[in-house]
């Protein structure tokens, strides 16, 4: 599916997807994030979107699955911060060796970010897209993109420094 076709056929579904997300998640902000994530996933798989009989139905499934994942994360007992440190620093015999490799550590921290933040950091810091471009793809405003990007970058730095203090 071409970017033009994506914008013409997938972006108009945003309102419907947002309503679905609002019903499944309690907070509007969470619903907004879920829809942004859904759009980024749809964007990255746009080459294969044409094979689906109904793109709106597929977009709905993607959004619902993201909402379910978010509900599961919300019900996790352990605080997110601890989970980050545990996963990022590792709990295996090679821990010290891996920690010495700063880039590897950053990679692992990014892998542990929430999917939306991970995708935004990937698009901005690796694929070199401007905030405006990401906002256009997700059908959201630039401020929402900036906010998620800021959270993602700050989280990576925070966890990295925390891991080095362990």
């Amino acid at each position: 599916m071409s970017p033009e076709k994506f914008k013409a056929e997938v972006l108009p579904l945003r309102e419907k997807l947002f309503r679905i997300a609002c019903k499944m998640l309690e907070k509007e902000q969470d619903a907004e994030d879920a829809v942004q994530e859904a759009y980024l996933r749809l964007w990255h798989s746009r080459d294969s979107l044409d094979k689906y009989e109904s793109v709106p139905a597929f977009a709905t499934v993607v959004t619902k699955n993201i909402c379910i994942d978010r509900i599961r994360v919300q019900h996790r007992e352990e605080p997110l911060e601890e989970s980050y440190l545990q996963q990022a620093s590792g709990d295996n015999p090679h821990r010290n060796l891996e920690q010495s490799d700063s880039e590897q550590l950053i990679h692992r921290i990014i892998e542990q970010l929430p999917p939306l933040q991970r995708m935004i950091i990937q698009m901005k810091d690796i694929e070199e897209m401007e905030n405006e471009e990401i906002a256009a793809i997700t059908g959201t405003n630039i401020e929402a993109v900036r906010m998620n990007l800021s959270r993602a970058r700050k989280k990576v730095r925070e966890v990295y420094l925390a891991c080095h203090q362990l």
Partner: protein, 153 residues
């Protein structure tokens, strides 16, 4: 770039406010080996992003050598065709209407024609081997004599 400028840019980077162009400046700064210790987390992040960007390029990197390989093949074929078809550097063909062809160019200047005709005739008379290589047939020799007659020699 001053440290204060870098600090300001880093702050804006973590607020998600920097443009791609500004982030390239940060990439350049963190690519240095003597980055202050206070920026170790930022350096690790930018090093990681730089490596990821490089890792995303192998398709393009592979494409270039492939194009170069095919270009080299095309160049060899073109060269072979050119060498086959072009007149040799020392090939001098003498026509019957007062002209010579040197390296594929038609020369009609009477003096040049005469000079080459005499030289060719000299080659023929001094060495039977040269005669065989430079003058393709007795007919060509005859042509040269006619040329000389035409110029009154």
């Amino acid at each position: 770039m001053k440290t204060s400028d870098i600090e300001q840019l880093i702050e804006r980077y973590f607020d998600g406010e920097t443009t791609v162009a500004e982030e390239k400046k940060l990439h350049k700064f963190f690519a240095q080996s003597n980055v202050p210790e206070q920026f170790r987390a930022e350096k690790a992040m930018f090093d990681h992003f730089a490596r990821q960007k490089t890792a995303k390029q192998p398709k393009r990197a592979k494409l270039i050598p492939l194009l170069m390989r095919w270009s080299a093949v095309a160049a060899v074929i073109a060269g072979a065709v050119w060498f086959t078809l072009k007149p040799a550097n020392d090939t001098i063909l003498i026509g019957g209407a007062g002209y010579v062809i040197i390296n594929g160019k038609i020369i009609t200047d009477p003096n040049t024609v005469q000079e080459h005709a005499l030289k060719a005739l000299d080659d023929v008379s001094c060495s039977p081997k040269k005669k065989k290589s430079n003058v393709r047939s007795a007919e060509a020799e005859q042509l040269m004599k006619e040329q000389l007659r035409m110029f009154g020699k």
